[in-house]
């Protein structure tokens, strides 16, 4: 029973007293102090009374709805994909978008950067792309008659990064994103550079033209909070797409956040998500779901009984199940959904709604699954059906 979302509020004008925008990156090594926005830790927030808390929740819902409305100006259809991308953004994760070419993957990411009023970079992954092309490299600069090596930041130093067709790069290049995605920092030539939060990676996968591609290693797949599938638009959406993109009128995306406070606003909303309360039995449920993805008899299977019964198809088609990051993704995504529903606590339904995008890319299927053309989403859906019968 979710409360209806409020109507989309108009975009607010940026206040005049906004602080200057943060720099693209902060170097951990000794360097001149630069203003940076420290990520707010949830437990550091002073306790608010109910009215203030309700105001924050309402603010979150309004911001979310505004961003979604701006995206829908440019993107026709794909409502679920837009919502899951935004959920992943506010949950502090990254999104892997899988879709055929021409379905608007790049447009979604670019529009999102514009709506958030955050810095946006795009990397087209090719087979000859090198890690330094992503993270940056040291270059010899001459300044005041002196030559010195300076670090030239790569495109990873941005708030929103589009890694287009990420599976076309070599695993070495792909792994260049690992540290950035997991730790929010980049190490180049022995120096670690902090990425300015929020750091949000949207990678796209092309499911066709698999020749000459390198499937992402499981470790990197695990870094993505969600993996969403971008299907072909239906006939009505297709008609609207071709109609709207072939005219002289280009949809104008209005930034939701003021340019100098955009990153801080996003971090503030992300901090609110972390404060959403979770009941113990729902934590147990999320853990049971993750545990159920691990096939029975696997040598990495945890000991002890599972709350959910072992699924036959999981045991048959899955080589490796989800990691604990899958459980984190479940809870974080459920928290965002709870806030969107006006609640400050999650429910079973919140977890179920995010289970497929949060877990489907974490299941490593075996050869039998590929031979039988098994979709991991169907396996997760089976688990959810069994869990619903058992837990409710």
């Amino acid at each position: 029973m979710s409360d209806p979302l409020p109507p989309d509020p108009p975009a607010s004008d940026p206040p005049a007293s906004d602080p200057p925008p943060p720099a693209a990156a902060t170097r951990v090594a000794p360097r001149p102090a630069r203003p940076r926005v420290a990520p707010a830790r949830p437990n550091d927030n002073p306790p608010l009374d109910a009215r203030s808390a309700q105001g924050r929740v309402d603010d979150f819902r309004e911001a979310f709805a505004s961003i979604r409305a701006e995206l829908r100006k440019a993107i026709v259809g794909q409502v679920e994909v837009i919502e899951e991308i935004l959920i992943s953004l506010f949950a502090g994760g990254h999104v892997l978008i899988e879709g055929v070419p021409g379905t608007g993957k790049t447009l979604i990411v670019r529009t999102l950067g514009q709506a958030l009023n955050l810095t946006f970079n795009r990397i087209q992954f090719t087979i000859d792309l090198m890690p330094a092309d992503i993270t940056g490299t040291r270059v010899l600069l001459e300044q005041d008659g002196r030559r010195e090596l300076a670090f030239a930041r790569g495109p990873v130093f941005a708030h929103v990064l589009l890694a287009d067709e990420i599976n076309r790069a070599t695993p070495k290049t792909q792994s260049a994103l690992l540290e950035a995605m997991a730790e929010g920092q980049v190490t180049a030539a022995g120096t670690t550079y902090k990425l300015q939060p929020p750091f949000f990676v949207l990678a796209t996968l092309n499911p066709i033209e698999m020749e000459g591609t390198y499937p992402l290693p499981e470790a990197q797949l695990d870094r993505f909070l969600f993996k969403v599938a971008l299907p072909y638009p239906n006939t009505g959406d297709m008609q609207r797409i071709i109609g709207s993109t072939t005219t002289a009128t280009v949809p104008e995306v209005t930034p939701v956040f003021p340019p100098r406070r955009a990153a801080a606003r996003v971090e503030e909303l992300k901090a609110l998500v972390r404060e959403v309360l979770v009941a113990p039995h729902l934590e147990e449920y999320a853990a049971a779901l993750v545990r159920a993805t691990i096939p029975r008899g696997s040598k990495f299977a945890p000991a002890g009984p599972s709350l959910l019964p072992a699924d036959e198809q999981i045991a048959r088609y899955v080589a490796f199940g989800s990691s604990p990051r899958g459980g984190q993704a479940l809870l974080l995504g459920a928290k965002v959904r709870a806030l969107l529903a006006g609640r400050v606590n999650i429910t079973y339904d919140d977890i179920d709604r995010v289970a497929v995008p949060a877990l489907n890319h974490r299941l490593v299927l075996n050869f039998a699954a590929r031979a039988d053309d098994i979709d991991p989403r169907a396996l997760i859906q089976r688990l959810l059906d069994a869990a619903r019968r058992l837990h409710r």
């Binding site: 029973m1 949830p42 437990n43 927030n45 002073p46 306790p47 608010l48 009374d49 109910a50 203030s52 808390a53 309700q54 924050r56 929740v57 609110l272 404060e275 959403v276 309360l277 979770v278 009941a279 113990p280 039995h281 729902l282 609640r343 400050v344 606590n345 999650i346 429910t347 079973y348």
Partner: protein, 456 residues
């Protein structure tokens, strides 16, 4: 430790009430259902005890015992399964009120001190939804439906008890309280209620087993139309009945046969059961149930058969020769019971004996001693004796006393009567006039001696 919050305490207190009500309902439900099953088992046992055979009754008893044990076990299991913990009560309230796990999130957090600025908002949302999870809304006060099952089973028990109950037998107290048609209305013993049922039953037994002694008393008392048994019963009611039933018969009627008959014909099965325990527990239970409902027990039938046989044998042995003096009241009762078709036990072997009549313990005097004409017939025999005696006591100044005859001091005491010296008279009592020695003609002297000599 989180700061004390009034709203939080209010939520906890209300959920405590919800949990208490739910558990109380569960307890009531379990008790009512198990009680229904137990009641039905009891009804089955009673029905089979009253109407069924012994083997069926034994099976039914064990079935009932198993059912009761199963009911108790099921009630325990149900209680254990449905007994709500705090956590379950919270989930119940969440689910019923549609609170989307708000209560569980608020109350069941093991780390209640987990910092979150949204906790107050959650509490406010919970309190705002208060009408949805009000105690009377979640668990309204109601009577569990299982109570109707219990009531229905109790009704079934009552109906079965009445339907399976044998035909009503008048209670001894009622029988005694009803005046006997042959009993004088001014009999003070009849107006007094019996001291207890054992005495009443023993009184009937006394009358049945007293034998010739009672006959002689009747003749001496000069009340020929009174039933001997009734007279004996009156004497027992006046304080002469010993505590142990049958003891009076043994005392008043010397001889092992009369004593055995009195012992075997004790009215009331429970004292007899104490003396002679049944073979097994189910028989004992069945006898107890049948006694409680006034039905004839199996022991009664078993005991009645040899007693009746002995009585008939004794009747045949003591059948008076022509011209000989008649037997006692017990024989008269035997004669009546053996011929009266109205007596239900008359069709059973030996049921017509005085022993069988007395062991009923609660039968009406007319059933014990026959109808009025037959009682007169019995009395006529005594009258013959009294006439004979009257010829010799014609010179006595006082012939008949309404009270019990007290032999004068110094006179030979009839058998079975305590000596008069042992019973001092009260102030308001007047001593009987001493009998004057009659002048017996020499031709009648032999006859008189023979009459006053009991051994002959």
């Amino acid at each position: 430790m989180p700061p004390f919050n009034v709203g939080f305490a209010q939520v906890e207190d209300r959920l405590r009430v919800v949990r208490r009500r739910l558990n109380l309902l569960t307890l009531q439900h379990a008790l009512y259902l198990s009680g229904s099953l137990v009641t039905l088992a009891i009804a089955l046992v009673i029905a089979l005890a009253l109407r069924g055979q012994g083997s069926f009754f034994a099976i039914a008893v064990w079935f009932a015992v198993a059912s009761v044990l199963a009911a108790v076990a099921a009630a325990g299991l149900r209680l254990r399964q449905r007994w709500m913990s705090v956590e379950q009560a919270v989930h119940f309230a969440d689910r019923c009120a549609g609170l989307d796990d708000r209560l569980a999130t608020l109350l069941l957090d093991p780390l209640r001190g987990r910092a979150s600025s949204l906790k107050d908002l959650l509490l406010q949302q919970v309190l705002a939804a208060e009408p949805r999870w009000h105690v009377d809304t979640l668990v309204p006060r109601r009577v569990p439906r299982s109570l109707f099952a219990l009531l229905a089973s109790l009704a079934a028990l009552i109906v079965i008890s009445f339907l399976a109950r044998p035909p009503a037998i008048p209670s001894p107290i009622a029988a005694r309280s009803a005046p006997h048609p042959n009993q004088p209305a001014d009999d003070p013993a009849a107006a007094q209620p019996p001291p207890n049922s054992a005495r009443v039953e023993g009184a009937g037994q006394l009358g049945a087993g007293a034998g010739p002694g009672a006959m002689q008393l009747a003749g001496l008392s000069g009340a020929p139309d009174r039933a001997p048994g009734a007279d004996a019963g009156a004497s027992t009611r006046s304080g002469m009945v010993p505590d142990r039933p049958g003891q009076a018969a043994a005392e008043h009627a010397p001889g092992s046969t009369s004593a055995d008959r009195g012992r075997s014909a004790v009215g009331g099965a429970l004292p007899r059961m104490a003396a002679e325990p049944p073979k097994d527990m189910t028989d004992k239970l069945q006898s107890a149930i049948r006694n409680a409902f006034g039905a004839e027990t199996a022991e009664d039938r078993k005991l009645a058969a040899p007693a009746g046989a002995r009585a008939e044998q004794r009747t045949a042995e003591q059948k008076p020769a022509p011209g000989e003096r008649v037997a006692g009241a017990g024989a008269a009762a035997d004669k009546k019971d053996g011929t009266s078709p109205s007596n239900s036990s008359a069709h059973q072997p030996g049921a017509g004996s005085a022993a069988a009549a007395g062991e009923r313990g609660g039968e009406a005097p007319e059933q014990l001693f026959g109808s009025a004409p037959e009682a007169r017939k019995v009395g006529s025999g005594g009258q013959n004796v009294s006439i004979k005696l009257g010829t010799f006591a014609a010179l006595a100044p006082s012939q008949v006393e309404p009270q019990r005859h007290q032999p004068p001091v110094g006179e030979p005491v009839p058998s079975g009567m305590p000596p008069a010296s042992q019973q001092p008279l009260a102030d308001e009592q007047v001593a009987d006039a001493p009998l004057q020695k009659a002048e017996v003609a020499p031709q009648h002297e032999a006859l008189v001696r023979r009459i006053f000599t009991r051994d002959e």
